[in-house]
């Protein structure tokens, strides 16, 4: 009898523990979402009301009964629209051209045996271990000499050769069986054919992962456009957002609305490609 109770009790206890953990996990997940939600709610309120319901905490801290889109309307009169468009253009070109360059570099390092490939690989690894901010100032001086200041090319170029993306892709490429390369060779494929017809089709998840790395580098770009002397025609999203903060006062409502706009775009892209992204990180080097 007691044994029977123990038998039915254990799974029930397990279910309870499982439920408890799930609820706890969900609560912790919601805590991470909270700041973003608070930003969103306050983007629907006039700026003067941002701190009104903050202390003590009340239901109105996280909800508003009278949402207004006036902050979003105010964004229409700012540079944010043009800046978002510029950011999308710069990021998109960086992803397309950058992926072409990085995947070819990674292929050369992973599949083509040549003398010095180890040294080249070390240079690539070192290049992404040095923070970009550390080389930005001398690089900006070079760009000025080359008349690339205040141009789209000047904004895009530093994002193209991304060491991290090359590293990710090379690791993935190394796991592709060499038998496939040999089979391709027997069918008369050259290096380009092997890259184009064998490696690329097999590497879609890791290409998406590397593409996101390239995209985020440009989407968050803040210091570089400032050093590069960008004017109001070439302005990028993060700069326009920062410009919303005046010297003497800040309209938090408009600021939060701008933040939401700039967050939604990468959020949509990441959620859309999430499956591939997780796959690419989890399978890199394992195949």
């Amino acid at each position: 009898m007691s044994a029977a109770t123990a038998h039915t009790g254990t799974p029930r206890r397990r279910t309870l523990a499982y439920l408890g953990l799930s609820v706890l996990g969900a609560c912790i997940g919601l805590l991470f979402l909270l700041p973003l939600w608070w930003t969103f709610v306050n983007s629907l309120r006039p700026g003067g009301d941002t701190f009104r319901y903050l202390n003590p905490l009340q239901w109105e801290t996280f909800f508003t009964a009278t949402p207004t889109l006036s902050n979003y309307a105010a964004l229409l009169h700012s540079d944010l629209g043009l800046a978002t468009l510029n950011s999308v253009i710069v990021s998109a070109i960086t992803v397309v051209v950058g992926l072409a360059i990085c995947s070819m570099a990674a292929f050369a390092l992973a599949a083509i045996p040549f003398r010095g490939s180890g040294a080249v690989f070390i240079v690539v690894v070192v290049s992404f271990l040095i923070p970009f901010d550390a080389i930005a100032i001398p690089l900006a001086n070079l760009f000025r000499d080359w008349n690339l200041q205040n141009t789209y090319a000047g904004l895009i170029l530093p994002g193209l050769g991304n060491g991290m993306a090359i590293f990710l892709l090379r690791t993935f490429f190394l796991a592709i069986p060499k038998d496939l390369v040999e089979a391709g060779r027997l069918d008369g494929l050259g290096w380009w054919g092997i890259f184009r017809r064998i490696y690329l089709p097999l590497s879609v998840p890791s290409l998406i992962g590397a593409g996101l790395t390239l995209f985020l580098f440009q989407w968050q770009s803040y210091m570089w456009p400032l050093l590069n002397g960008t004017d109001s025609q070439h302005i990028l999203g993060p700069i326009a957002l920062s410009n919303l903060q005046g010297q003497f006062n800040v309209d938090y409502g408009v600021m939060f609305a701008g933040s939401i706009v700039l967050t939604v775009i990468p959020l949509a892209i990441i959620i859309g490609f999430q499956r591939y992204f997780i796959q690419s990180v989890s399978t890199t080097g394992l195949k």
Partner: protein
């Protein structure tokens, strides 16, 4: 020609348009850099002799260092004209080693705003706008606590809680001086009795809960407009926004310590010419228009609430500013004119000001968060001296 600054483009649109009407052959293009990034961006681009900047906005206390680095064109030929056009404090802040390096465009002061509903609830009389009846910090702290007891969340809040600009007058009022002394203005003096007493008082306003610790930077005025603060010390730039808010407020002179001297902040922005510019003549013409020509200088304040530096422009401007607040700001023009000429205490002119301001900002932040005052001021002295050794 190109002008670089940290203001919203709409701020300078009127002065650029007014200049264009008079000088159709010169086109002025304005580029904005976020306020927090203005100084690093200028350092890098001017250091690289970037000729796409012709004219730029100069934070007045940073002028000596910019001039010493060779980032400003000498404008000494305009000395006499400038001296005649602006108040003395606005002329002298643009001098370094007896040469004129920039022309003043804007000026500033600090005022004390109060929340009428909050004071009514506590039965406290409104402070007078008359500078002769200036309140003391001791009285404000006492009344602020009474207002808190009557239901207002916070008694007192300074707009720039960690900025030397706004906190210097506390020490000045108690005889502590600016914090920089010596012939070369490179000797730190922030551990004297005046500074220690002032900072202890400031620290106490936070530890007693009179002022909130959580809100920082230049992000405090929304707290006043949401009715949570009884007394708020801010600038004339707040008047425009407060007038649009739905709380009932009034304005009074910035307080001082009982028995101490009356000191208020002053100074704002000048504009200077980049020596690497290829359009110096055009830049100079525009600069003279924006600073020395009363109409041009007035136009720089069309789209924002800030005091113009030019004396004739100020005389036109102050009644306009007073009208902006309606009945709430009656007497404001007189008050600001009084503060500009009688109590304005400029920030020290020193090539080490930039390091001084940054390290003092950190010290103020620690002090308001509870660091022991005398120890933290000693530590700041050490840090500033170390930073200055590298000059």
């Amino acid at each position: 020609m190109n002008l670089l600054g940290s203001e919203d483009p709409t701020t300078f649109a009127p002065v650029i348009a007014a200049f264009k009407t008079k000088n159709p052959d010169i086109t002025v293009k304005y580029a904005q850099v976020p306020f927090d990034q203005l100084n690093p961006t200028l350092q890098q681009r001017l250091g690289a002799k970037d000729d796409t900047i012709d004219l730029y906005t100069v934070d007045q206390p940073r002028l000596s260092q910019l001039a010493a680095q060779g980032f400003l064109e000498d404008l000494s030929t305009l000395k006499e004209q400038t001296k005649a056009a602006v108040p003395d404090a606005q002329y002298s802040v643009n001098l370094y080693q007896d040469k004129l390096w920039a022309l003043p465009v804007w000026n500033s002061t600090q005022l004390m705003f109060f929340n009428k509903k909050s004071l009514d609830a506590a039965g406290i009389a409104y402070p007078s706008i008359d500078p002769a009846q200036r309140m003391t910090w001791e009285q404000i702290a006492k009344d602020g606590k009474a207002a808190q007891a009557a239901g207002t969340q916070f008694g007192l809040l300074l707009e720039q809680v960690e900025a030397y600009y706004q906190l210097q007058p506390l020490a000045e009022s108690l005889g502590g001086g600016s914090g920089i002394t010596g012939d070369k203005m490179l000797t730190t003096d922030i551990t004297n009795t005046g500074w220690e007493k002032a900072m202890q008082w400031y620290s106490d306003t936070f530890s007693s809960g009179l002022s909130p610790r959580g809100v920082g930077g230049f992000q405090t005025s929304p707290l006043f407009t949401s009715g949570k603060v009884a007394y708020f010390v801010g600038g004339p730039w707040d008047i425009g926004n407060f007038a649009k808010s739905d709380i009932d407020w009034g304005v009074a002179p910035m307080p001082y310590f009982a028995g101490g001297s009356q000191a208020t902040p002053t100074g704002s922005w000048s504009w200077g010419i980049n020596p690497a510019s290829k359009n110096k003549a055009a830049a100079k013409k525009f600069l003279e228009f924006a600073s020395l020509d009363p109409a041009g200088n007035l136009a720089t304040t069309d789209a924002t609430t800030i005091i113009p530096a030019n004396t004739a422009a100020t005389a036109h401007y102050l009644p306009k500013l007073e009208a902006l607040g309606g009945a709430k700001t009656t007497g404001l023009a007189n008050l600001i004119a009084h503060e500009n000429t009688q109590t304005a205490t400029p920030r020290p002119v020193s090539v080490g000001y930039i390091q001084f301001e940054e390290l003092m900002g950190k010290a103020f932040a620690d002090i308001r968060n509870g660091s022991p005052v005398d120890e933290r001021l000693k530590q700041a002295t050490q840090q500033i001296n170390d930073a200055w050794k590298q000059l």
